[in-house]
Chain length 288, copies 2
């Protein structure tokens, strides 16, 4: 099987590493606008060979892992280039615009809209790691629009690397993911900003920051080049989550100003139930 | 050495576990309003013996690890009870009010105001773990008000369990810690609240939440009984941090509404420097 990965970073790189180690007779071809990344990916063993769009007709599977604004421009071109029996899937954090732009593409049945929910705050080929997707959710949108035997080929790969599959429509995906992922990134970036602005003496941050602060600002290390187009494509949902978050923070501040400590206790106590909701995930994380 | 721990949870319990394993001839006495916690602490090997305030005259060292509102009431009583050669230290996340309340106490020289910056989101005797304080900062306030030989006794213990010491005045401590700790907790609790309110179907949170969301809401599992009095005692600073945080989030939302994606990119790119600031800590965490 010839597997092409377009954009060799954390997600694309980790995917092909796992594919290489779980499938037989696989050759991994890498395409990237950054030639240094290609060379690095070969030396790290992430890909087998450099390739370009003109090699796409030989692909059996194409993974498109590039920023979502580039994705909407490149996916139609990529689909034009592949043969009839090739499955192309994306890994973007937004789904509506990507599905919309391919709605009437003659090779729409060759495309599977995916969002594997996994990652770290690192980027580039060196961020590619094995087992990133084990027990993680892969959300697939508009599965009914993909040719059945191409769905099967992709699912076989997802299953082998340990992913759980969940089917959703792209509009619901973008709405939910704004809450459980996009908002977390903004809250983290703005927390980092607030602290950096205030603590001009970086030594103070370094000395006084406990593991709690590190945990809440971890996502502020994420790539702006990747996240800016995500926020742009999911603007409406992200603005809504931000408004609700700001409203909750303002209400908490008002409780403090009114010295309503019973109210503050209750706010925190009610939110403690997140323990139960995330419990299974947490246990899993600790074992890993 | 007779070491008393008043309040046997995450911090007090972890401290005495480390003291027991690094000092010779130590007996750990536990005092707690919750008798179940005392029994549990003995069975877990966190303390050697149950005790009460009437046993305090035999103490060489007393660790007071109780919520900060109870702390300001109990510390004067505890100091009244100990003998002249005993060092009493607290571990509270606020320092101004605690130092203020003991300002004119006849045994002020027996007291050392401490804030070991370490923890997890768990609580109770079962949360006590070894090596929690290794390479972590312990902030000591108004060190000059503590008798020199009692400072020495406490520092010897802190050094043995691997803590780095930093001296600060209580007002500066409370101002800085509001940014690097208290605000993180509120941002996390309110993020958890925003998502729980929206995602009535908990299955959606569970399936779609990646490690990023878990990281940012981890602190929302913290104890409301411990955190409510911290926010109360540090109200002025916490309100200030909240106002700046809300302002930054609102500015980010405005950039989105104006479609100023260059501005959004720059906001994130400028905050990326948190990588460098937290780098040494992060490396350490990964090694642990």
């Amino acid at each position: 099987m010839n597997v092409f990965v377009i954009g060799i970073g954390l997600i694309g790189g980790s995917l092909v590493k796992d594919i290489k180690s779980t499938q037989e007779n696989v050759t991994i071809y890498g395409i990237d606008t950054n030639d240094g990344h290609l060379t690095e990916a070969i030396s790290l063993g992430v890909i087998d060979k450099k390739a370009s769009y003109k090699d796409l007709p030989s692909a059996d599977m194409v993974i498109v892992s590039i920023p979502v604004d580039v994705m909407v421009k490149e996916l139609p071109v990529i689909l034009d280039a592949v043969h009839e029996d090739c499955v192309v899937f994306d890994v973007g954090s937004t789904k509506s615009m990507i599905c919309k732009v391919l709605e009437h593409h003659p090779k729409r049945r060759n495309f599977l809209a995916c969002h594997p929910i996994a990652g770290t705050e690192f980027s580039g080929p060196s961020a590619a790691i094995n087992n990133l997707f084990k027990d993680k959710t892969n959300i697939i949108c508009e599965v009914e629009l993909t040719a059945f035997k191409l769905q099967e080929r992709a699912l076989k790969v997802f299953q082998a690397i340990g992913m759980r599959i969940r089917y959703m429509n792209p509009v619901a995906h973008d709405k939910h993911i704004a809450y459980v992922s996009h908002l977390s990134h903004i809250s983290s970036f703005m927390l980092g900003k607030t602290v950096i602005e205030k603590e001009k003496n970086e030594r103070d941050i370094f000395d006084m920051a406990g593991s709690g602060f590190e945990s809440t600002v971890r996502l502020a290390k994420s790539s702006p080049a990747m996240w800016t187009p995500i926020f742009k494509q999911n603007k409406e949902n992200v603005v809504e989550t931000l408004e609700e978050y700001i409203q909750n923070l303002t209400a908490f501040k008002e409780l403090l100003l009114k010295d309503d400590y019973e109210g503050i206790y209750n706010e925190m106590n009610n939110t403690n139930k997140i323990k139960g909701i995330l419990k299974r995930n947490t246990v899993k994380q600790e074992i890993e």
